[in-house]
Amino acid sequence: MSILSLNVWVPVIAGLIVLATGGDRNASRARALALLGAIAALLVSVPLYTQFDRAASGMQFVERVPWISTFNIYYYLGVDGISVLFILLNNFMTLLVVIAAWIVIEKKVAQYMAAFLIMAGLVNGAFAALDAILFYVFFESMLIPMYLIIGIWGGPKRVYAAVKFFLYTLLGSLLMLAALIYLYFQADKSFDILQFHQLALPLDAQIWLFFGFLLAFAVKVPMWPVHTWLPDAHTEAPTGGSVILAAITLKIGGYGFLRFTLPIAPDASHHLAGFMIALSLIAVIYIGLVALVQTDMKRLIAYSSISHMGFVTLGTFIFNAHGMQGAIVQMLSHGFVSGALFLCVGVLYDRMHSRNIADYGGVVNTMPIFAAFFMLFAMANSGLPGTSGFVGEFLVVLGSMQVNFWVAVLAATTLIFGAAYTLWMYKRVIFGAVANTHVAALKDLDRREFVVLAVLAAAVLWMGLYPKPVTDILNTSVSDLLQHVTQTKLGLAAR
């Protein structure tokens, strides 16, 4: 079995083994096995980083085996500089989620851990798939574990949130399925994504395809106005669910734009770039303002996610190297930062069982170490130089400046709004006098929580201070993609 297959199947099989431990009598065994599985998954992804050829274009670690010969579908995996980073991020975050849930989750432990491990394998599969149906299978099947995670271990409105999450995402992806089948016939009965990239298509077909894909990925990202599932899902999900949703699954939307929309329909993408930029700016500004008035910490971070993901779509659709690199770096950074913020809220929630900002105040007096970590992540969320949040946002603003001055100005407002809602929340929760007896009784981080947050803090700082290892991997793939996107497909259409 080669490396990518291992990355897909090691977590899935580990998840099934964990599931087999059964009821909560064996909870400690389930935890230990889950930890082993998550570590194994991270270890098998190490060669992806070390053996990745940074100078080569095209796909690496390719595997291609016939799968469903009737429809010419292949089990076809491969990664380029863009997808490999997301696989690494995913395995890393899954390990943290397993550790973070260690004592917090008390009921149905095996099912919880298994759901996350299986989810991790499916996400890796989606990032590595080069056959459209294989991608679709991974893309959709990850809804099942996430639906269960939100619905079983979530908050009071979990059922509503889970169903909304599922149906919303399904709506988008079903239209994508129709688009994929259309492409299958255009490509002489093949579901090979790379072959789709080379396909000559007239502009009107490209525009239909663009919208077919747009709904699937816009819901996932999510873009305004199809973002409404996200605040509910993120707020009601258990901490681990929120972390994986924010850090990983949203990225599949951004990745989808880069892997499907841009290369398959480049002319339509140029044609509709203004529309996409407008939607992105609405997300950045309007959702930023919405975040400002939230009273629930998780909801606030959820809205902040939408606003930050607006930067990703903005960077994608300004078609220059800074913008696209910025978009990808922003996705990775947001993976760390939003994950860390949800974990911070999880730490507070486990102690106080409240997510309301009003229930807190003066936490710094009882939890100084926690307050320091929280501070760092809040700063990263507002895009402070030296943290990972700054790199992506700066690159995107830089890129948009090359396109249009006013777009850049509007995008840059996020540096103000982001700082406003994050730091204002931070102030109300952490500073001030001790608000009540519950806060006074808070205990600071235990060793497990400290490790999780410290690892994330290191990642955030490392990406902020020295992003070169990341951008080195990206460079070739991004410039290849940009070059592909600038070539029109319309001239080829006369065949």
């Binding site: 269960l148 169903v163 016939f185």
Partner: protein, 482 residues
């Protein structure tokens, strides 16, 4: 005509089935009440022997028997195997349920075998007359099965409804067949097709004939607007019989499609295509929307069947061999899903208690995690979510429709399956997110447990490796209809 030219060996499985049905009928008279498992075992063994005979039958070429009335080919082999598996599973799953209700009698076995025989005859018919005979044998056995629970008012009412409407549909079909006979001068299906393709102008009577045949088909499938009987019969019939209607009998309906519509009326594709489009669209809308409002799970699954038949028709109406093989795949997958779903419902029922409300599934994950997991797979498969096999069934019919340019229909179908996902998800929600109300232990015999597990896991296994089954369908259709 001497005996050898009858070529009766082609129909050996059918003859064997008939003989065994008579043996079981007679043998059961001498079996005491407590020893019924003898006849049960005999039934299952004969079904399995029959399956072996079908599997080993020569199907590489088209074989005719009884002077061209009867045909056996690769497609017949595929559908017969499917029907036998479905009947075997129906009998196995319903054992405890029927025993608790005093319905565990020889009549049930005999009726199931005769219904199967009727399906075999439909599947292998090369002429309108044997086709109609098979159809009636299937239908009459099913009316009797629904009415088997004599003291239940609901079952009797369901049987009456089913019978009256079914008889009407048979009449429509027969009328249509007579018109086709009038227009072409033949009852032989191949000759009818040849006669139609030779006619340069289309006779109105031919088109009328097609309309009546399609109406008869729509009734048997339960497609809107001929669906009225489906929810009432599904709800009123004992759950075991509902399972039979929902799974095994669908193979008979598919034989209807292949033998009459495809083999006989292929030259008239443009005429019946539009009718099927209408049936498919209406079935998908009404089935999916009405299912949302149901609180009775059998009724909900009835509407879900209607919606699924809409999907099936989407494959058929493509009018290509790609479409026909995708519908064969769809029906096999659908039958497996229906069997598994009703199997779980039967499992939750016990003496004096019918688990037919959605609420009865509440908290199943806490009562029996394994069965909840199987039901979860089945529900996601019904909703068409990968990695379950239901997704590939949908994928194959959608690509067949898109291949002939029905883009709007494909987009419409995917939107309808989104609506469908809502009520399947509701079942998952009840099982996993709610607390149980009913805490009675769930007991199942060992063999039922194994079969049900295999059936449920098949959703996943076939979902990961759908290739062989799909290839079998494609090859069978290509050899027989291509």
């Amino acid at each position: 005509m001497n005996v050898n030219s009858l070529n009766w060996f082609v129909a050996a499985p059918e003859i064997f089935l008939l003989v065994m049905a008579c043996v079981v009928l007679l043998g059961d008279l001498y079996v005491r009440e407590g020893e019924r498992r003898l006849t049960y075992a005999l039934t299952q063994i004969s079904l399995l022997c029959c399956a072996v005979m079908v599997l080993w039958s020569e199907s590489g070429t088209r074989q005719l028997a009884f002077g061209g009335l009867y045909v056996h080919d690769a497609l017949a082999r595929l559908l017969k195997i499917g029907a036998i598996v479905a009947v075997v599973l129906v009998l196995a799953y319903s054992r405890d349920y029927l025993r608790a209700r005093g319905l565990w009698r020889g009549e049930f076995f005999v009726l199931a075998m005769l219904a199967l025989l009727g399906m075999f005859v439909m599947i292998s018919a090369a002429n309108f007359i044997p086709f109609y005979l098979g159809l009636e044998l299937l239908a009459l056995s099913q009316y009797a099965m629904v009415a088997l629970q004599r003291e239940s008012k609901a079952a009797t009412e369901a049987a009456m409804k089913y019978f009256v409407l079914g008889a009407l549909a048979s009449g429509l079909l027969l009328y249509g067949l007579s018109m086709l006979y009038g227009a072409t001068g033949s009852l032989d299906i191949k000759e009818v097709a040849a006669a139609i393709s030779q006619q340069h102008t289309r006779q109105p009577i031919l088109v009328f004939g097609v309309v009546f045949v399609v109406a008869g088909l729509a009734f048997k499938l339960g497609a809107v607007p001929f669906h009225m009987w489906v929810p009432d019969v599904y709800e009123g019939a004992p759950t075991a019989m509902t399972m039979f209607l929902a799974s095994a009998s669908k193979f008979g309906a598919l034989a209807f499609v292949y033998r009459l519509l495809v083999s006989g009326l292929q030259p008239l594709v443009p005429d019946w295509q539009d009718m099927l489009v209408l049936l498919a669209v209406l079935s998908m809308v009404l089935g999916n929307v009405a299912a949302i409002a149901q609180t009775n799970i059998k009724r909900m699954l009835a509407y879900s069947t209607i919606a699924h038949m809409g999907f099936l028709l989407t494959g058929v109406l493509a009018g290509t061999s790609n479409g026909y093989s995708s519908s064969a795949f769809y029906i096999i997958v659908y039958a497996l899903m229906a069997l598994g779903g009703f199997g779980i419902i039967l499992l939750l029922s016990r003496a004096g208690f019918e688990a037919d409300n959605l609420d009865d599934l509440r908290g199943l994950n806490q009562r029996a995690p394994w069965y909840a997991f199987l039901m979860l797979l089945i529900m996601f498969s019904l909703a068409g979510i990968p990695p379950t096999v239901g997704f590939y069934a949908k994928l194959s019919v959608l690509q067949a429709a898109l291949e002939v340019g029905y883009l709007w229909l494909v987009v419409f179908a995917v939107l309808m399956s989104l609506i469908g996902a809502f009520y399947y998800l509701r079942i998952v929600r009840l099982m996993y997110f709610e607390e149980p109300r009913d805490t009675a232990p769930i007991v199942a015999a060992g063999d039922t447990r194994v079969l049900l597990s295999v059936n449920g896991l098949a959703m996943l296994v076939l979902g990961i490796l759908p290739g062989p089954l799909m290839a079998w369908c494609v090859q069978a259709v290509r050899q027989s209809l291509g």
